[in-house]
């Protein structure tokens, strides 16, 4: 795995260093079909703009996470990149204001997310979100029906959801009732629903509060009583990401908490095996929120061809292009014009249509503490510490109180180190 990442990274690095005038290199990763869709769109762009050669480098997500930051630190890299750690790398993005045809169009349609991708206080146009993501739950309707358990309402709490899924587990003799991806980002939605606030008065991480502690305790108890799938969180150490999608796809859990980016994946793999639907996020004592996020397409400031980059970004940011991209990839759009209009998702799968509607509806219920996190630069150390330490508790290596102390210490140490 490590070698593959290194080879891919070196290849990408080598490729990105051999740009010629008129060449625009795009580093792209895919979760689903978006690689094919963007290639199709870029081919169309090149047909209309024969003087610009756009080269799409499809790389593994790990390359974007681990190799791209190194390239950027070295003042190199692609001309455009699709990234998720947009805030941490914000210093490397190009200001598109002078190179796009109509900066006002960009401000109007993508402006709400600019702070997610630019340094605090900056006013640049760094790029646009190719998709908005929102964490949320998926329910296996067939299993609920077979068990005769009603699906909880929109306002149901986490406890009510887990109780309902637990009944399905018992009735259908499932290995577990539900799963949450092994990710600090995912559980942060639930933490905020229980009143958590990560951001201190000085914009530095606040000590973890009662909201985070309340949900962490629930999570640990659900693993202990066998309702939450132990494998996802316990079977790895550190910040390693593990998704619970396979268990949901195989019909082995009744409820799965992940996010909107899973819709295309679930649709293609579940097919007609069972009925499923997205359900938004369960409620806590303070909110019923999901965590917003997404992937951005940003221009890199070390590009030798900023004018060409501007033309490519202008093309991809066009409303009709964004609409087509959204409809074909089954993503939630970031473009305000697309959001305001009718989106005709290209699928016959009723599960998909219902799920995307559920996510669109849930996007109106995002709590302010959750909405603030994508534009906050210290989110990732908080997520990492939560995952590392809570999974140690689940594995029986730490007590909850010890884990809470460690989480605060880990975050403090990482912030201090990064601030040197």
């Amino acid at each position: 795995m490590r070698m593959n990442s290194i080879i891919l990274g070196l290849s990408a690095g080598l490729l990105s260093s051999t740009a010629f005038a008129g060449d625009v290199r795009v580093m792209w990763y895919s979760d689903g079909v978006e690689g094919e869709v963007i290639q199709d769109l870029l081919n169309r762009f090149m047909k209309d703009n024969p003087d610009i050669n756009v080269i799409l480098d499809n790389v593994a997500y790990k390359v974007v996470q681990e190799q791209l930051p190194v390239e950027l630190e070295a003042g190199r890299g692609p001309d455009i990149a699709r990234v998720t750690n947009i805030k941490e790398l914000a210093d490397h993005w190009l200001d598109l204001t002078p190179v796009v045809a109509d900066p006002a169009y960009w401000q109007t349609n993508f402006g709400d997310q600019f702070d997610w991708m630019r340094p605090d206080g900056s006013k640049i146009i760094p790029g646009f979100m190719t998709q908005i993501t929102l964490t949320g739950g998926f329910v296996n309707k067939t299993l609920f029906e077979q068990a005769g358990v009603p699906i909880p309402a929109d306002t149901a709490t986490w406890d009510e959801w887990v109780d309902a899924a637990g009944k399905v587990q018992q009735s259908q003799q499932l290995n577990a009732a539900f799963a949450i991806d092994r990710s600090g980002h995912r559980i942060s939605a639930a933490n905020v629903s229980y009143g958590a606030n990560y951001i201190g008065g000085d914009r530095l991480p606040a000590p973890i509060d009662a909201g985070t502690k309340a949900f962490a305790e629930k999570l640990v108890n659900w693993v202990a009583d066998g309702r939450m799938n132990k494998e996802i969180w316990v079977s790895a150490s550190g910040t390693t990401y593990r998704a619970g999608a396979d268990d949901f796809i195989n019909g082995q859990i009744a409820y799965y908490y992940s996010g909107s980016w899973q819709v295309a994946n679930l649709a293609s793999k579940i097919g007609k095996n069972f009925d499923w639907v997205a359900t938004g996020s369960p409620c806590g004592t303070a909110a019923c929120t999901g965590m917003p996020g997404g992937a951005a397409l940003v221009a890199v400031k070390y590009t030798k061809n900023p004018a060409e980059v501007g033309k490519v970004m202008d093309f991809l940011g066009r409303e009709d292009i964004m609409r087509e991209f959204t409809e074909r990839t089954l993503f939630l759009p970031a473009h305000k014009g697309v959001l305001a209009g009718k989106i005709d998702y290209k699928t016959d799968d009723e599960n998909v249509k219902a799920s995307l509607e559920a996510f669109l509806k849930a996007s109106g219920k995002i709590a302010p503490n959750a909405a603030a996190l994508p534009a906050w630069k210290w989110g990732t150390p908080v997520y990492g510490a939560l995952v590392t330490r809570i999974s140690q508790v689940m594995a029986g290596e730490l007590k909850l109180d010890e884990a809470f102390v460690r989480i605060d210490e880990d975050i403090k140490a990482q912030v201090a180190e990064a601030s040197k």
Binding site: M1, R2, M3, N4, Q65, E66, P69, V70, E73, A74, N85, E88, N175, K230, E231, V234, S235, A236, S237, G238, T239, T240, R242, T380, P381, G384, T388, S391, Q392, M394, A395, G396, E397, L398, E402, R406, E409, A413, Q414, E417, A418, S419, K420
Partner: protein, 341 residues
């Protein structure tokens, strides 16, 4: 016919060697002149220089850089932009109430990784040497299809560690092949990669499976070098097989066994790839080993800490240097013994 073939072979050989001879003639005069100027020692340096250059660029230079990194802190990636912190990173790694209790340490995960690695080294090396020895002894016998069996045991060595990890993950996961067999046999499936002790055992077994062929090959070479007449004499004396093993095979195989032992030790300390794919360091931190700790701190975390990762890798490197010196010492001693014989 044979003469014709020999003639063709001779001509082909001459054709291949002709450019070599031509090059030797071209460089003969300048090399002789160089030797007159620099002397024999100078010529040794001249011929070694390319190799030393490669070694310097790819080994010494990164080592020096790593040492420098370990004395810096901060979020910047490039050495020139980093803050000099002296021995702070080492101080952080060694800041412990008791080294036996990782929870009392500031960097508890480092010490968990240290103790896990130590336990892994002790158990895996013992098992690796034992299994390699048994395998070599079996493969040294007059078996049917012996070459096939030798290939079977050596085949996993050719696999990429990632492939090894993935194959065993498919076998050991909750709904994997092993649990299917357990279920079919009427047993209760076990979550092999989620239960602490089973996961650790699996890590050892998989690494032994993946590498035992290589070490068995070294021992097999040693076994085949033992003079047959010793065994024939023992057989004529009616010596029991176990006594032959203890009195002839083992003593004469000792040099190869020592090499295997040291090589296995070095490899075990460096364990990473297949176990990272197999268990991801879990359950909890029960298979978190030193190299994974370094990788995660230095590369995988969003907020990388190259200083701390470098300090940990320097400490690990020091252990490996000690083990390598032991290996060199053994190799030299074997060489001297060979000369004395």
């Amino acid at each position: 016919m044979g003469d014709v073939r020999n003639g063709i072979a001779t001509r082909a050989g001459a054709m291949i060697l002709a450019p070599v001879g031509w090059l030797a003639k071209v460089f003969d005069a300048p090399l002789r002149m160089l030797q007159r100027r620099t002397g024999s020692n100078g010529m040794a340096v001249f011929f070694l220089a390319p190799n030393m250059l490669v070694f310097g660029i790819f080994v010494l230079f990164p080592l020096v850089i790593n040492i420098l990194y370990s004395m810096t802190g901060g979020g910047a990636l490039f050495l020139g932009e980093r803050t000099f912190v002296g021995a702070d990173q080492y101080g952080r790694l060694f800041s412990c109430g008791s080294y036996l209790d990782p929870k009392s340490c500031t960097e508890d995960l480092f010490w968990i990784a240290v103790w896990n690695t130590l336990a892994f080294v002790v158990l895996q090396v013992a098992m690796m040497v034992a299994v390699a020895l048994v395998t070599a002894l079996v493969l040294n016998r007059e078996l049917r299809a012996r070459s096939f069996w030798r290939a079977v045991f050596f085949f996993p060595v050719l696999l990429s560690p990632v492939v090894v990890g993935l194959i065993w993950r498919w076998i050991l996961q909750r709904q994997g092949l092993l649990n299917l067999m357990v279920f079919e046999a009427g047993g209760t499936p076990v979550n092999w990669l989620v239960e602490r002790n089973w996961a650790f055992t699996a890590a050892i077994m998989v690494s032994v499976w993946a590498h035992v062929g290589f070490y068995a090959l070294i021992l097999l070479a040693g076994l085949q070098a033992i003079p047959k007449d010793l065994y024939e004499a023992a057989e004529m004396d009616g010596t029991r097989p176990m006594r032959v093993f203890w009195r002839i095979t083992l003593p004469l195989l000792a040099p190869n066994l020592l090499v295997v032992l040291v090589l296995t030790l070095i490899r075990a300390v460096q364990i990473f790839d297949e176990i990272y794919v197999l268990t991801g360091g879990g359950p909890g931190t029960s298979t978190l080993f030193l190299t994974q700790y370094i990788y995660e701190v230095g590369f995988a975390s969003m907020l990388r800490n190259p200083g701390l990762a470098s300090a940990a890798s320097i400490l690990m490197g020091a252990v490996l240097v000690v083990l390598t010196l032991i290996q060199l010492g053994i190799a030299r001693r074997n060489e001297q013994r060979g000369k004395m014989r």
